[in-house]
């Protein structure tokens, strides 16, 4: 009953991405904004060092696509995020479930993980650069721990929310420890795990941009920060658009559908 209700009442944005008309409705305000930008900049003769014109940004985009630097920056950034997230999720989920198995242990460890998930991400940049040197290792570490602590904490919460009766029911029907783990605990915690991944990635993405500004020589954050040294606002604005579009794509096409489908499939239906 409640599941069907959840299906019919999808968020406005999720439906719009699916349908073409919705996409047009979504893009129209953004296009209007670009049109406004195209009018305002020449009209007030804004100094290109302050804000670039649409044409200059387009030229910068074409140039970076042609000489391959854009692909290199995007590739480097995505590789770091992908690798850091992968290691983070692989280590955090088993740990979170193991901690959540016993209620006492979970209660004991919750404050610890809360503390560390608060620190996750950017606050680790200084010490990460000291441990791993400026570069790939430090950035992957920052992303890893942004994802790790948030996912572990959410997995722990997810396992805690599974009613004990479900575990007992499975056990009394003859399920062994392993079966309870894979068929009750893991699916039950899955919605929380996916929410954790989404939150963690949100922190990791910001951490990535910050870390790339500080600690590397390739990647989107670096692209922006170097352009600043030469007052090339057109490259900065183009980079910002790329970052925005990339995150929208990752979030809307990958994370939101993943979250929705896990909640629909495995989410607990509760009677209010």
């Amino acid at each position: 009953m409640q599941v069907t209700e959840a299906k019919t009442r999808r968020p406005w944005i999720a439906r719009s991405v699916n349908s073409l008309a919705g996409t047009a409705m979504f893009v129209a305000p953004l296009l209007a904004l670009v049109a406004l930008w195209a009018v305002v900049v020449p009209l007030f003769q804004i100094n290109p060092r302050i804000f670039p014109s649409v044409g200059a940004v387009g030229a910068a985009a074409l140039e970076s696509i042609r000489d391959g630097t854009l692909i290199a920056h995007i590739g480097a950034s995505l590789l770091r995020v992908g690798l850091g997230t992968l290691i983070g999720v692989i280590t955090a989920v088993p740990l979170g479930i193991a901690m959540g198995v016993s209620a006492g242990v979970a209660a004991f460890l919750t404050p610890l993980f809360r503390f560390f998930s608060v620190l996750a991400g950017i606050a680790w940049i200084p010490i990460a650069t000291l441990w791993f040197g400026y570069g790939f290792g430090a950035i992957v570490f920052v992303i890893f721990n942004a994802v790790f602590f948030v996912v572990a904490y959410n997995t722990l919460l997810g396992v805690k929310t599974i009613p004990h009766t479900l575990r007992n029911a499975a056990a009394s029907l003859g399920a062994g420890r392993w079966a309870v783990l894979t068929e009750v605990l893991l699916p039950g915690a899955l919605p929380n795990i996916v929410t954790g991944i989404r939150t963690g990635l949100g922190f990791a993405w910001r951490g990535l941009i910050a870390a790339e500004m500080i600690a590397t020589n390739v990647g989107l954050g670096y692209m922006l920060f170097v352009a600043r040294d030469f007052y090339r606002t057109e490259v900065i604005v183009f980079g910002m658009i790329v970052i925005g579009v990339l995150w929208l794509l990752i979030d809307r096409l990958l994370l939101v559908p993943l979250e929705r489908s896990t909640i629909e499939r495995w989410g607990m239906v509760r009677r209010a």
């Binding site: 406005w12 944005i13 409705m25 979504f26 893009v27 129209a28 305000p29 953004l30 209007a32 904004l33 060092r49 302050i50 006492g104 209660a107 004991f108 460890l109 404050p111 610890l112 809360r114 503390f115 560390f116 608060v118 620190l119 991400g121 950017i122 606050a123 680790w124 940049i125 200084p126 010490i127 650069t129 000291l130 441990w131 949100g202 922190f203 993405w205 910001r206 951490g207 941009i209 910050a210 500004m213 500080i214 954050g221 922006l224 920060f225 352009a227 600043r228 007052y231 606002t233 900065i236 604005v237 980079g239 910002m240 970052i243 925005g244 579009v245 995150w247 929208l248 979030d251 209010a272």
Partner: protein, 268 residues
């Protein structure tokens, strides 16, 4: 085994009598492990300082007055940014939530600008405003604004239309409906938005202080990194964690719970 069980039951009894201890005791084994690892010399001191070193540097920095100053700077920036972000975000959220047209026009723009993320604005802000307070405040306001606006919109939309209509038919003016129906109904969501926004804003502040770097806890950490002094980095991390832990667990989370209980809509 028996000793462990006795310890455990003692712990349970202790935390039942003083629930506050449950937030402190779990850190004792971590600090103990940390002490053992550093004392045993598993990692060089330059990589991982011991707890005593950190306490010593805490005392020195407090005595010199650097730490209180920096902490104050960071907190004032965060508070000013959060206040401004709320002042802009709540009215905007209510406008977007109540008007269909504003919703259609603003929602995609909001999502896109949220996706750009606060820190990506830093380079162009540095060109516009230079290395200074304006840049930092802008970034924090930007960070706090979006979660507040998006959650306010969700909150306003979660208030059943019937309630507003009922108030109208009983003779309430639109302003009164806004003040007595829409705003209280949206309040739990607004607080959630504030909590998320501050969580992001706090991290953004650290990044900004590292990059813009004139004062603040983030600056303290990165300055220490330049000098290669891990002690102060670890000290900075602990202060950040503790501070946010206190703000979140003792102020924001209870606030969220209280508004949820007082004004939350009962959905059945």
């Amino acid at each position: 085994m028996n000793v462990w069980l006795q310890c455990w039951s003692g712990y349970i009894r202790l935390t039942q009598r003083w629930p506050g201890l449950a937030a402190i005791i779990p850190f004792i084994p971590v600090v103990a492990l940390w002490t053992v690892v550093t004392e045993a010399g598993v990692f060089p001191r330059a990589f991982l300082p011991g707890p005593l070193d950190v306490v010593r540097s805490f005392v020195t920095l407090t005595y010199k007055g650097i730490l209180p100053d920096y902490l104050q700077d960071s907190l004032i920036r965060l508070l000013a940014g959060a206040a401004l972000g709320m002042a802009l975000g709540i009215p905007l959220g209510i406008l977007i939530g109540t008007s269909r047209w504003a919703h259609r026009i603003c929602w995609p723009v909001l999502l896109f600008f949220q996706a750009i993320g606060d820190i990506a604005w830093l380079p162009i802000l540095l060109i516009w405003f230079g290395f200074g307070l304006t840049t930092m405040t802008f970034v924090i306001v930007y960070t706090v604004l979006f979660p507040v606006v998006l959650n306010t919109v969700l909150g306003v939309e979660s208030v059943p239309r019937d309630l507003a209509r009922a108030a109208r038919s009983l003779g309430a003016s639109p302003a009164r409906v806004l003040w007595e129906v829409t705003l209280p109904g949206a309040l739990p969501n607004i607080i959630t938005g504030l909590r998320n926004g501050l969580g992001y804003g706090w991290r953004a502040l650290i990044a900004v202080e590292i990059i813009v770097g004139t004062s603040g806890i983030g600056f303290l950490m990165f300055d220490a990194r330049r000098a290669g002094s891990t002690t102060e980095i670890v000290l900075g991390m602990i202060i950040l964690g503790l501070l946010w832990y206190i703000v979140d667990a003792w102020i924001l989370a209870p606030l969220e719970r209280a508004t949820g209980q007082r004004w939350g809509l009962v959905t059945s």
